[in-house]
């Protein structure tokens, strides 16, 4: 009843090609943005900002990056935390060695450095496919772990191998309160999501999807696999590099190589599998699921006033978390984004389903 597109005629190319063709979607998105930008900074507590929203925004960005590669181009990677690490250490070194640089410049440069490394580690994808490629991307993970733990220059000869960042400054604005950090991240995320959305709708995205669906057929119709695969790796690593730099500078403030270990890579992969492969919306759902659920589950006994030990609560949380992952994958193997789409489909017919 409320959600139907009857009567919304598209009379220009522009209106046909817009990102959200349905009026209700546009209104919803607008409302969400107003809520996120205008209202959230005033009503949300610092704890929610620092523990839920900030990690969510950054990991959503990383998940978009991985989704571009895995979901859109069909190249599996289980080493994407390595590109986050590249971004983080690149940003650290740039900010340290060239202190005059604006943080936005640092961010873009560290993304570009990560993209270069991404292309390098994407080269094997030209020869190997599927699960074999996944194993090859592990090399990126282990190599970067080793590099940042052993080569002292990257950590500025810190005695413990841990680095800590300078405050974030740009155009005379110091991003230090939780609300400011949140707004800054939201801005970066919105811009990069728009870029990603338009990339996947453009010829590049279509090439990626053609490679994903059948590489031989794609080659026959004139898509160059080298170009398609390596651009996917580059863009994906660029996003993860920026996410890594933000994770280090905005979220952690001080980190050690362990902050970007294999667990993070796997978490990113879980995010896009649970959220939905080949869907930008799915990256958001997946990031929210992986970030928020453990924290919420951990605190449920406390809210209910059940006196159980912290060890018991944390064991229970892991068990329920695991069970929920299995549950959602059984209910909808295509992820939460697909559930969302089904929900919209149902809403369109409501209240008179066939």
């Amino acid at each position: 009843m409320f959600y139907r597109e009857n009567g919304q005629f598209k009379s220009t190319y522009a209106s046909d090609q817009q990102m959200l063709p349905i009026l209700q979607d546009r209104a919803f998105m607008l409302g969400l943005l107003v809520l996120a930008i205008g209202a959230a900074p005033f009503v949300v507590s610092d704890y929610v900002f620092l523990s839920l929203l900030i990690p969510f925004l950054i990991l959503a960005l990383a998940a978009i990056g991985l989704n571009l590669l895995v979901g859109y181009c069909g190249q599996i990677s289980i080493g994407h935390a390595a590109f986050m690490a590249v971004g983080a250490y690149a940003a650290y070194n740039l900010a340290l060695r060239i202190p005059q640089l604006n943080f936005l410049v640092v961010l873009v440069l560290s993304g570009l450095i990560a993209a270069a490394v991404g292309i390098l580690f994407g080269v094997p994808s030209l020869r190997i496919k599927g699960l074999y490629l996944a194993v090859a991307t592990l090399a990126a993970q282990f190599f970067m772990d080793w590099l940042f733990a052993r080569v002292k220059w990257f950590t500025n000869y810190s005695s413990s191998g841990s680095v800590s960042t300078a405050p974030i400054e740009m155009f005379g604005w110091t991003v230090d309160t939780p609300a400011e950090k949140y707004l800054f991240l939201l801005g970066v995320l919105i811009v990069l999501t728009l870029v990603a959305k338009n990339l996947v709708r453009s010829h590049i995205g279509r090439e990626w999807m053609a490679m994903r669906d059948m590489d031989v057929a794609a080659e026959v119709i004139g898509i160059r696999p080298v170009y398609a695969k390596l651009t996917a790796f580059a863009v994906s690593a660029f996003y993860c590099g920026i996410a890594g730099a933000l994770w280090g500078f905005v979220h952690l403030g001080a980190w050690e190589p362990l902050a970007f270990n294999l667990t993070v890579s796997l978490n990113l992969l879980f995010m896009i599998i649970i959220g939905g492969m080949g869907s930008l919306l799915g990256s958001f759902f997946g990031a929210a699921f992986i970030v928020a659920l453990p924290i919420i589950l951990d605190q449920v006994p406390l809210w209910l006033g059940v006196p159980i030990s912290t060890a018991m609560a944390s064991h229970l949380a892991s068990m329920i978390f695991g069970a929920l992952i299995v549950f959602f994958l059984v209910v909808e193997p295509h992820g939460l984004a697909r559930l969302w789409a089904i929900g919209k489909e149902k809403l369109r017919l409501w209240p008179f389903p066939h």
Binding site: A27, G38, V43, S159, A259
Partner: protein, 455 residues
């Protein structure tokens, strides 16, 4: 169609405004009820603990000692000068991100916010140090954390009470030097450092290298990756290189695994020395008889029981309030947890002298921590004789003088060896200064002026 879009925008903005209004009202209501709930006037102690994961064998006794002492303060003394102590635990699993989340969760709780944090992990210490400047909550790291955080002018909120890893490494070198008959005899010797590959394990390297330059011994660095159950390659290298001494810088299951591997490779346990985090009951008991002869540093409190333990049994365990088992009261890490709680409580007590007998903010507790003077008489009064070394701090020196002894495992219990070690400040002080300066430059910090604050 244009018209339709306009209406939709209008409708959406109305909806947003309504939602905004209602959430704002909710927040208002929350704020209004908060002071009523906070009226209790209690001192809130956040507890970051790990009772799960690879580090749980060591995390549990420390956490038990810590919370049991807080319970004892309430049960025996009725709080700190009448101000009741409340605490809440948060499970970090020794993971930095989880620890930061716990820190954010607990920092604002209680009537005046968190008293002080014991992160109980060097990684978490590094991450929360960064936040302490804005939150104004002291970070107490008893025998761990950043070595350079001794410098209170740069690290305004860190208190590495009891000693740092540079102190510990220095003491171990002094000990093996003494064993060889003089530090100059170390020339040409080979010392292997088997360390946890994390900030914790890497922290002592700088000092051991400095000492190696002075005395001419060769330093072998053998990292062990988290969680430390896979050490075959490390001990193969030890078998090949045959170092004269092995320093063990492990935590959790890594310690017991290392001792078991030493048994398997036939490396004499008498030549193995652990840092003070590698010398507790859970580290040696899994290796059985093989652990006999292994030694480690011990600071603050060795294993055993004294007056305070009697009180603990009487007021806490006999009432069924204990966090652990009664027989575990008096273990190395239990005692260390108790000592960590004790210095925090004493800091609050000290700060109460200046700010009054009421729940204190983290910023006020810092004054107490900077003016701690726990001498032998005070230790006796607290029932800690034999389980605590004197601590006195200042605005400039946040650690006090580090002192430690060596204890050895005889198969059944830990025996403290004669000889007390003090770190050589002529070596460590300049290192602290340069490292702290570097940190201040990186973070663009302005240093505190202690002379001005005192006046």
């Amino acid at each position: 169609m244009k018209q339709g879009a306009k209406y939709a925008v209008l409708a959406a903005s109305f909806a947003v405004a309504a939602a905004f209004g209602s959430t704002a009202a909710l927040a208002q209501a929350k704020k209004a009820e908060a002071p009523a709930a906070k009226g209790g006037g209690e001192q809130f102690f956040p507890v970051l603990s790990y009772r799960t994961g690879a580090y749980a064998p060591n995390g549990i006794p420390f956490a038990n000692g810590y919370v049991d002492y807080l319970k004892l303060i309430n049960a025996r003394d009725g709080g700190i000068n009448g101000v009741k102590v409340v605490f809440e635990e948060c499970e970090t699993g020794y993971a930095t991100d989880k620890g930061v989340e716990c820190y954010e969760r607990l920092k604002g709780k209680g009537s005046t916010g968190a008293t002080a944090f014991h992160p109980l992990s060097t990684g978490i210490t590094f991450a929360v140090t960064d936040k302490s400047f804005a939150d104004k909550i002291p970070i107490i790291t008893t025998g761990y954390g950043r070595a350079d955080s001794v410098d209170g002018t740069v690290f305004g909120w860190n208190f590495p009470l009891g000693g740092t890893y540079w102190d510990a490494a220095d003491m171990l070198v002094q000990h093996v030097g003494k064993k060889e008959g003089g530090l100059d005899k170390l020339k040409g010797k080979k010392i292997a450092l088997v360390y946890h590959d994390s900030p914790y394990g890497k922290e002592p390297i700088a000092l051991l290298q400095e000492r190696a330059r002075m005395h001419g011994y060769e330093l072998l660095l053998l990292p062990v990756t988290h969680p430390g159950v896979e050490q075959k390659a490390t001990w193969l290298q030890i078998r090949q290189q045959r170092p004269d001494y092995v320093f063990l810088w492990g935590w959790g299951v890594m310690n017991s695994t290392a001792i078991k591997e030493a048994v398997a490779t036939g490396y004499p346990r008498e030549k193995m020395y652990g840092v003070w985090w590698s010398g507790a009951e859970p580290d040696v008991t899994p290796a059985g008889d093989g652990a006999k002869g292994y030694s480690s540093l011990v600071f603050f409190a060795p294993a055993g029981q004294g007056q305070v333990h009697k009180d603990m049994i009487k007021y806490v365990y006999d009432k069924g309030q204990g966090a652990g088992k009664k027989e575990e009261v008096g273990e190395v890490l239990y005692n260390r947890g108790m000592a960590a709680a004790m210095v925090t409580v004493e800091a609050v007590r000290k700060a109460q002298v200046k700010y009054g007998k009421k729940p204190l903010k983290g910023e006020e507790v810092r004054w107490g921590l900077e003016n701690l003077s726990i001498d032998d008489a005070a230790i006796k009064k607290l029932g800690f004789t034999g389980f605590m070394t004197p601590v006195s701090t200042s605005c400039v020196n946040h650690a006090g003088e580090a002192q430690a002894t060596i204890h050895s495992w005889d198969g059944k219990k830990w025996n403290v060896q004669p000889g007390v070690y003090h770190a050589d400040n002529s070596i460590i002080k300049p290192m602290i200064r340069s490292s702290a300066e570097k940190y201040a430059a990186e973070k663009k910090l302005t240093k505190r002026d202690c002379a001005k604050e005192a006046g």
